[in-house]
Symmetry: C2
């Protein structure tokens, strides 16, 4: 618990003065005031989160955390459980959606086994941080122990610390875990008090009957485990999962290390919600990549207090939305740093 | 008029069979069906517009057309008229917003003088296609002659033909012209029959009194010139401008040459609307970069029948929204071409 308490203590609000300075600099570039809209917001927020008037976001890393879920035995997902390790290998050989999009935007993908129910042995390129071989079925008891929860959070925090040491300018979150929209919906319902039906959707594409079953399973799990909505770590432990905990840790660690962090879709946002409930200033460091197709996502973004950047009707995860949002954020930083001023260009002001 | 008639005759509907084939190929990539949302739409539409199952959009060009507007003497803009040539020089020296964003996404910017009221003489890097030194004040008479209108359209068509010869895979539109939201609003009002107030906004940032004046000027111009809503070229000639005509020509030319074309914001969309009114299949070739802050923009996009890709609250023009949308379209094409299939990756299907 020490590393988590230490990390929380390192999180501070961003500087309002840096936000103002960055906007003043933007206002002197050759364009009507504010005419690059959200790109200007991205630029000034990266300045403020990094604490650097001239931030460098050239080095971009996306972490794709993989974990399995005991609750898949309740038939909540369209895909079989073995797809989690299969996709991990696909990530490592560069053939998945996240690989294509990360290459396109010049970001590294780092694949982390934090809880896959498969023995990867010495597979090269994988970051081996397995805490357990998947969570327990939360419809029948707690998904994780408190110790497992803290261990998975610590994985994320330590990776963020390492990014700071490496000079990474922008971090993205991603995940792979068959069944993981189920604990994500459970987290939102537990924290918000909304009904499960209001925040539960079709994941990878389940039909009507399976959706009814998924809602029933989550309701049963919440009734049985009684997570305490005032204690985000209790909610996380009760429903899982390991990759969601690692994302929560990564977001906390990025905030503690002054690194802007781009959260991907529904599952990543559940992790970020836990982080944001643990410390009110975490939100200052978060960029929300996109509006997911999953219902319940908008609610989480509103609760965290961030506005999604893209709306491309994604529902894949892995970090795919984060990759594309990261290139837009980088574009905003370049506007700040590379555009000519009115004086430099000899352009009259309005 | 011959080149325009010839161009219209070359425009055909895209192949429904190619759209289906591209979606089948996407459906076999390692992701849940349809889970990359609009990226999949971009990929299949690029296949269909290019007529190529393996399209290459690596070579991307943005045309920024510059022109002046006689109607600026009515005080419709916040910025003085000399900003048009000043910004052209800024584009050529690489310091404007469009330069920064085009570099970011790997697109070339080609700056075209189609109607600036300034003698650029032999300025290097500029594409010299001046049809006139600005339009006439449409509050007092027609903005352009029919001959000027056709000449400016032809500039755009010929540039598209040249792109085909060069193997350009994706074209973006952009513009610079102090005062050019005024004719754009006039075009929408004339074609749609909506009131001028419904489709007229603040441009670069004019205040309330100036907005009331801008609306009055457009109403006066439409009442005086009586453009025929059934004749898009008459509307274009009556209100202008030269850069809007060139954009209309570029869009027509791209459609005729099977090149997907990404239209930027409010002014570019006015040009695309003219093109789309001239031929019903033009819309198949158009990607709408973003939702502009200018009111009236959504209406035009609906009338053309295209859905905006981004909503970043831009109101700059130049092609800035197009640049960012182009990289998302390219990402979609890469998803189609670079992702592993289920079989290749050894991943079980749902």
């Amino acid at each position: 618990m020490d590393i988590i308490m230490d990390t929380l203590e390192r999180i501070t609000p961003v500087s309002q003065e840096l936000l103002r300075q960055a906007q003043t600099r933007l206002d002197n570039r050759t364009k009507p005031l504010g005419s690059l809209g959200r790109l200007e917001e991205f630029a000034r927020r990266v300045v403020a989160t990094s604490g650097n008037p001239d931030p460098d976001v050239g080095k971009k890393v996306i972490f794709t955390f993989a974990g399995d879920h005991g609750v898949t035995e309740e038939g909540v997902s369209l895909f079989p459980r073995e797809v989690t390790p299969q996709m991990v290998l696909n990530f490592l050989s560069g053939g998945a959606g996240i690989n294509v999009l990360a290459r396109h935007v010049g970001a590294d993908v780092r694949v982390v086994d934090v809880g896959v129910d498969y023995d990867f042995a010495e597979v090269a390129g994988l970051i081996h941080k397995k805490v357990a071989r998947g969570t327990k079925n939360f419809a029948k008891g707690p998904a994780m122990t408190r110790a497992e929860t803290l261990a998975a959070l610590t994985v994320g925090i330590e990776l963020a610390d390492q990014c700071r040491a490496e000079g990474v300018g922008l971090v993205g979150t991603g995940e792979m875990g068959i069944g993981n929209t189920t604990p994500s919906s459970a987290i939102i319902a537990a924290i918000s008090g909304k009904t499960v039906a209001e925040v539960t959707h079709r994941g990878t594409g389940i039909g009507d009957a399976a959706l009814i079953n998924k809602i029933r399973v989550i309701e049963q799990g919440l009734a049985l485990n009684k997570p305490d909505p005032q204690d985000p770590l209790d909610v996380l432990a009760k429903v899982g999962g390991l990759e969601i905990a690692a994302i929560a840790g990564l977001v906390l660690g990025c905030a503690a290390n002054s690194i802007p962090v781009v959260i991907d879709g529904f599952i990543s946002t559940a992790g970020a919600l836990i982080a944001s409930e643990l410390h009110p200033n975490v939100r200052d460091y978060i960029f929300a990549a996109h509006e997911s197709v999953e219902i319940g996502h908008s609610f989480m973004l509103e609760r965290i207090g961030v506005e999604p950047i893209l709306d491309l009707r994604f529902r894949l995860g892995e970090g795919t939305g984060a990759a594309l949002a990261m290139t837009l954020i980088e574009a905003g930083v370049k506007i700040l740093k590379e555009m000519a001023t009115f004086e430099q260009a000899g352009v009259s002001q309005g």
